[in-house]
């Protein structure tokens, strides 16, 4: 049962990395779009495409945190006592992003609008970088906020969000019938994928240097299937997008990024903090475990369909104002 709860926690982290990643990635491209006419068009699409689901993503984050403190209280205490600077920066990004996303709709002056755009974009970099950096610090087994591992994980996360953001924006551009923007984001997907592969390779080097045991079980242990999956799926999704074969590419994108998270988590299991804390050492007493599983089951049974309904209505464009 403890393993199951750890798995549920992993699912929440993965959901945030993938769904949230798409969202933050869109923010990164928003920042890169610049202020040219084409850039403004791209930004208009990004704005429009951040579906009515944009804050549902925050929920995954809250779920992950609640699962951690309830299911693994000692892990929560250790991680937050040592890595608080990383979480603080990630949070700052989160608030600034929300506030300035709203502000850029309210801003009327072009200058204020531009400032709002830039803050929104920059904060989209902060959050994925620092959340992933905290995972890197955990994976290193030392819980030191700023280390080669935390920086490497942060960079991988930036590349991965840029990649998944671009991939989904290709889909949005297609849906809204904007062929130039399809091309625009096709190119960006390829660039981001190249960056992801480069940064990913670099990160493997850092892991080899800092946490050789982790690398071993990533490439020759429990992490292997997922490491392989991400190595195959990332180029595959990119290839499909590059050649304009618009089928399955979004699913593959999500699977590629998700596998990356899985590869890390499975490689370090049964440790929550490698060499220091295992799942069975940190787990809450059995009655709490049961309740958490009930909570997880309800999320799957009730909230799953509800989310499905939201995405369904969204895809059928049932959720739009008449003007749009």
């Amino acid at each position: 049962m403890p393993d199951l709860i750890a798995f549920v926690l992993l699912l929440a982290i993965t959901a945030y990395s993938t769904a949230g990643g798409v969202d933050f990635g869109a923010g990164i491209w928003d920042l890169m779009a610049g202020n040219s006419p084409r850039g403004r068009e791209a930004r208009a699409l990004i704005d429009h495409a951040m579906a009515p689901v944009w804050e549902v993503n925050n929920v995954w984050l809250v779920l992950a945190i609640v699962l951690t403190w309830t299911g693994f209280p000692i892990l929560f205490q250790q991680v937050f006592s040592s890595l608080y600077p990383l979480f603080t920066f990630a949070l700052l990004g989160l608030v600034l992003r929300g506030a300035f996303f709203a502000f850029r709709h309210v801003a009327e002056e072009p200058r204020a609008h531009r400032i709002a755009d830039v803050v929104f974009g920059l904060s989209s970099l902060l959050t994925p970088f620092f959340f992933a950096a905290s995972l890197g610090a955990i994976a290193s087994g030392h819980l030191v906020p700023f280390s080669p591992m935390s920086v490497a994980f942060g960079l991988v996360s930036l590349a991965a969000t840029a990649f998944s953001g671009a991939s989904f924006l290709v889909g949005d551009a297609r849906r809204y019938g904007a062929p130039e923007l399809v091309v625009h984001f096709q190119r960006r997907t390829v660039v981001a994928a190249a960056a992801l592969i480069a940064v990913g390779t670099f990160a493997l080097g850092v892991i080899w240097w800092q946490a050789p045991d982790l690398l071993r079980s990533m490439l020759a242990g429990k992490g292997l299937p997922f490491a392989l999956a991400t190595m195959i799926l990332t180029p595959l999704a990119t290839f499909l997008i590059w050649r304009g074969i618009f089928r399955w590419y979004r699913v593959l994108t999500v699977a590629a990024v998700g596998s990356m998270v899985f590869a890390w988590a499975f490689a370090q299991s049964p440790y929550l903090v490698p060499g220091q804390l295992t799942i069975s050492q940190a787990i809450a007493p059995p009655p709490t475990q049961v309740l958490l599983l009930v909570v997880a089951a309800v999320v799957v049974l009730v909230i799953g369909p509800a989310m499905g309904l939201l995405y369904y209505l969204d895809q059928r464009s049932a959720l739009e104002s008449p003007e749009s």
Partner: protein, 469 residues
């Protein structure tokens, strides 16, 4: 892990200030977050049932406010959950397995609200009216569930239960039901829930009371005033009763807090009720009005009831003098304003019942216009009462606030606090600007039809998407 409590002291003050600031801010978003969906659905239901386009228009406008404020609340709520780790890592490290349960339940509620507010807001056009209404019906129970979860956790801090502690104070076993339903939950839940609904009712109605004072007297204004105000007026008298029960339970379960609320120094019978006033370190009361024996009568229905005073507890296990005074004044503010609200409610219900129409006195509408802000002050005051009154404990009689605080250097926490104050200020500015803009636009729009969501930065579908512009 050995902890030198003295070494942690520096971050204690900024951590407390930061937690107080972010919670005080978030709690302002809660009444509309939990209760506005019900008011909106009530209005939509009236619109569908009576085929009244005006009611539907009001409901649709309220839904926009609801969504915008939910978005702000989602962000400030996420911050709060991280602050448990950044500021108080030891609280969850020790009690997470029990105290976290309520939050896990709140997690569902957050999910459901986030999903269905999206559907509700963006579904006005394309969904059939009945379908739209029925999908919206998920929101009120979700809000209820969320309030339950958070209050279960807060009640655990006030009256911990359902846990077996090991030798080092670690939780070794948890009785799930016992940890969720602690003694304080019964009254805390009802007291807070009713507070949320009546605050939302008064707040929304106060907007239209102002409209009345400015001379607007049409069907739109009457309906938008009467529905929320009636809800609030029906609930307010009950709140006095629930509050009274809560105070009596407090005298039993959290005697230090109760002594601070009433600034009682000596344990005694015939204890007077002190209205306003301050206590000093020697237990002398300054200023204020002392009503003989009333406190004893309120607690035990008899002047002979013994009420425990602050001096009955060791100085390091009860609120300090300053904390006791803050608790007391906050408590009196809440009770005082609550009583004014109840009087206003009786006035309103009396007019409705006897004359079958809305009041037409300017004084009534002046008070009603203030009732919204007054109710918010009450919510803050009530929250201050329960949180400051619990000091120095983070988990009552079990864990001190100073034992839970982070190892982070004070300078770090001060910097984080400064950044949050700035960012929260910016958010408040945007939020208020936006509401004023919406209000202005809706006034214009009443002259020329336009969909209410246009230009709302809640989400994305707000702006018009153009290619090749």
């Amino acid at each position: 892990m050995d902890v030198d409590v003295d070494a942690l002291e520096p971050a204690l003050l900024p951590s407390r200030i930061q937690m107080a600031f972010t919670l005080a801010y978030h709690v302002l978003l809660v009444p509309l977050g939990v209760a506005l969906p019900s008011l909106t659905l009530l209005m939509e239901g009236i619109g569908i049932y009576r085929k009244d386009p005006v009611a539907l228009k009001i409901a649709r406008r309220w839904s926009v406010v609801m969504a915008v404020q939910f978005a702000v609340g989602a962000v400030t709520g996420t911050i709060l959950s991280f602050e448990f780790g950044i500021l108080w890592p030891r609280l969850m490290g020790r009690f997470g397995a029990a105290m976290g349960l309520g939050f896990a339940i709140e997690g569902w509620a957050f999910f459901l609200e986030a999903i269905f507010i999206g559907i509700y807001l963006y579904g006005w056009n394309r969904l059939r009216p009945r379908t739209h209404f029925l999908l919206g019906l998920v929101l009120p129970p979700a809000g209820l569930l969320g309030a339950f979860g958070v209050l279960a956790s807060n009640s655990f801090m006030n009256t911990p239960g359902g846990v077996t502690l090991g030798a080092n104070g670690q939780v070794t076993d948890v009785d799930v039901m016992g940890a969720l339903f602690t003694r304080a939950l019964g009254h805390e839940f009802w007291h807070f829930l009713v507070a949320l609904y009546l605050t939302a009712g008064f707040m929304v109605a106060s907007v239209y009371a102002v409209a009345w004072l400015r001379g607007r007297r049409d069907h739109y204004q009457r309906l938008a005033f009467a529905v929320p105000f009636t809800v609030a007026a029906l609930l307010t008298p009950w709140q006095l009763l629930i509050g009274d029960l809560a105070a009596r339970a407090m005298a039993e379960d959290q005697p230090q807090k109760f002594a601070a609320m009433e600034i009682t120094w000596q344990t005694r019978d015939h204890n007077p009720e002190v209205v306003l006033g301050l206590i000093d370190d020697q237990g002398e009361i300054h200023l204020g009005l002392s009503i003989p024996a009333l406190d004893s009568i309120l607690v035990g229905y008899s002047p002979n009831t013994t009420v425990r005073g602050l001096s009955a507890f060791p100085a390091d296990a009860r609120p300090t003098t300053v904390e006791a005074n803050i608790t007391h004044l906050a408590f009196d503010t809440m009770v005082g304003l609550g009583s004014v609200g109840a009087a206003l409610s009786v006035w309103y219900l009396w007019v409705i019942w006897r004359r079958r129409r809305l009041p037409d006195s300017s004084w009534f509408y002046r008070l009603a216009a203030l009732a919204g802000v007054g109710a918010y002050v009450c919510v803050e005051a009530g929250w201050i009462t329960t949180e400051v009154g619990r000091q120095p404990w983070i988990v009552y009689d079990t864990m001190r606030v100073s034992e839970a605080v982070t190892d982070a250097p004070a300078s770090f926490v001060w910097s984080m606090l400064a950044a949050l104050v700035v960012v929260y200020g910016v958010i408040a500015y945007f939020f208020i600007t936006l509401l004023l803009r919406l209000s202005a636009r809706w006034k214009r729009e009443d002259l020329r039809e336009e969909a209410p969501e246009v230009g709302v930065p809640y989400g994305p579908r707000s702006g018009k998407f153009e290619t090749g512009a």
